[in-house]
Symmetry: C2
Subunit: 304 residues, 2 copies
């Protein structure tokens, strides 16, 4: 077992920075700043993504509690994109940021162990390229598909966030099915508490967190109560429609226990919204910083 | 829309080769043949994985209907592993094999589109590195998380297999919950038929297939009947415990409509079982070939 504890480390980062902001590094190559115009090769585009991420990380390093990399946007760039993913992880680590890999993996036992070793490290790890502080995990395969991630998290002091209720419109289709007196996502929520229970940290939270979207505020309040030892990672804020009032139910009585992700609303703040329209080289980074700070302050004031 | 159609192409490959065998390329670096002993670097290990895969592909190219790459074992090797994944795809393609990427991805709409572009190609594709003929997809996020894969499959003539009932012991935990008169995995099965319906091919099957494990034979028969237009990809044969009798219910009345995956039972046939113990350089490939041929013949004779 590790001296580190993911939940305690994330709570500590939030307190130190007075911030519950997670900045989503979901770069889309067709939306990068003009000064980072890529050539047409995958390598050139991946290089621009990496430069863009470095700029965002520089801008938000003292404001964000964590960054979250949506790996799909890197896989889309092929092998060069995976190198940019690895380089971005290293860059964020060097700036002291907690790094969440939004990989939504899930597979049967032996394969789940390979994924856990790839993304959370530990004794079975071969490469450190993709190792982050926490990953997102899909629960559809059940306990033996999730436990390898829990075990790796407990052994390394890292963490995971299990998809409980996602932020997309179709989330209701399966996740809200009523199964024997409880909704499917409530069954998952109960499992999340079970998986995390042996590993609760000093702050009362386990390294097994949950993803609960901001787009279903009533669910957030109910799930906060159902999972008292579970950190919530809340997507859906900003561009997906969730506002401050929508995310408040995710926090505990002390204004802790949750972090809120915004991707487009921060990293593309120079393209649209109140911080757009700044001019000059690097001005996009000022807009990113201003948007992140505004979100930080709004969340902190509403919860403290 | 494409001239190609994944389901028709897979049915055709099965008929031509008189084979319903999918060989799982799930290499584990600690179990490679002695003649491929890697050095300790990730690059060295990834190179050995690639050489091993080339050997397996050479041995089974005329026997297997398809190969299936479990991407977790490549991610575990970091960036070098992803290059080996891409190289293995190219090698299998060159040998005329249908290639299935066992990636079990699933995410919300825009992100699902990025995954679909990464792994199925199409107009939104940037890199061809990871593009395969079909992928596995996790349904937990619902229709808007799956449709980008369906759309990409329809546009490119490629396919997908949605996880319906997986082969692991904990599959029952969520997938067998009773939700309003049907089990959760039956709800998913109904969605699979809906997603595939507009795209049914000349052979009566759509490019939206389903994963149903061989370890639950009763489910196989029921799900074959519930999804008459859905190709089944059946894992769990061999090392996971499923035998010929267990997988027969996956096939339709003509002995078609399903393919059966074996990974360890074929690629590591030289390590254990009736084909082990051959000696001399390259003897491991003879064992791989013999195990694949034996499985092909057993399946074909039982279904025709």
């Amino acid at each position: 077992m590790s001296e580190r504890h993911f939940a305690d480390a994330l709570l500590d980062a939030c307190r130190r920075k007075r911030s519950q902001v997670v900045v989503g590094l979901d770069p889309r190559v067709d939306r990068l700043p003009a000064e980072l115009r890529p050539d047409a090769t995958c390598e050139g585009r991946a290089q621009c993504v990496e430069s863009f991420n470095r700029g965002v990380i520089d801008a938000v390093a003292d404001i964000a509690a964590a960054v979250k990399l949506q790996i799909a946007f890197y896989e889309q760039l092929g092998c060069a994109g995976m190198a940019a993913y690895a380089a971005t992880i290293r860059c964020a680590r060097e700036r002291g940021l907690i790094v969440i890999g939004d990989i939504k993996r899930g597979d049967i036992a032996g394969t789940a162990s390979a994924y856990a070793a790839a993304h959370l490290g530990g004794s079975a790890a071969i490469s450190a390229d993709f190792v982050v502080d926490a990953v997102t995990v899909n629960p559809y395969l059940g306990s033996d598909g999730v436990r390898p991630f829990v075990d790796a998290a407990a052994a390394t002091g890292r963490g995971l966030f299990v998809l409980v209720k996602t932020s997309n419109p179709s989330a209701v289709e399966l996740q809200d099915l009523s199964c024997g007196g409880a909704l499917l996502h409530e069954h998952v929520a109960a499992l999340v508490e079970v998986w995390g229970a042996p590993h609760t940290g000093a702050g009362g939270y386990s390294p097994v967190g949950a993803v609960v979207g901001a787009t279903f505020p009533d669910d957030l309040a109910r799930l906060r109560a159902l999972m008292p030892h579970t950190l919530l990672l809340v997507p859906g804020y900003g561009a997906q429609g969730g506002g401050i009032d929508d995310v408040l139910p995710a926090f505990d009585a002390a204004g802790e226990g949750a972090v809120v992700n915004s991707s487009r609303g921060i990293i593309f703040a120079w393209r649209h919204g109140p911080h757009a329209g700044r001019h000059g080289e690097g001005a996009w980074r000022d807009a990113v910083r201003a948007a992140a700070a505004e979100m930080r302050d709004a969340l902190w004031q509403a919860t403290h």
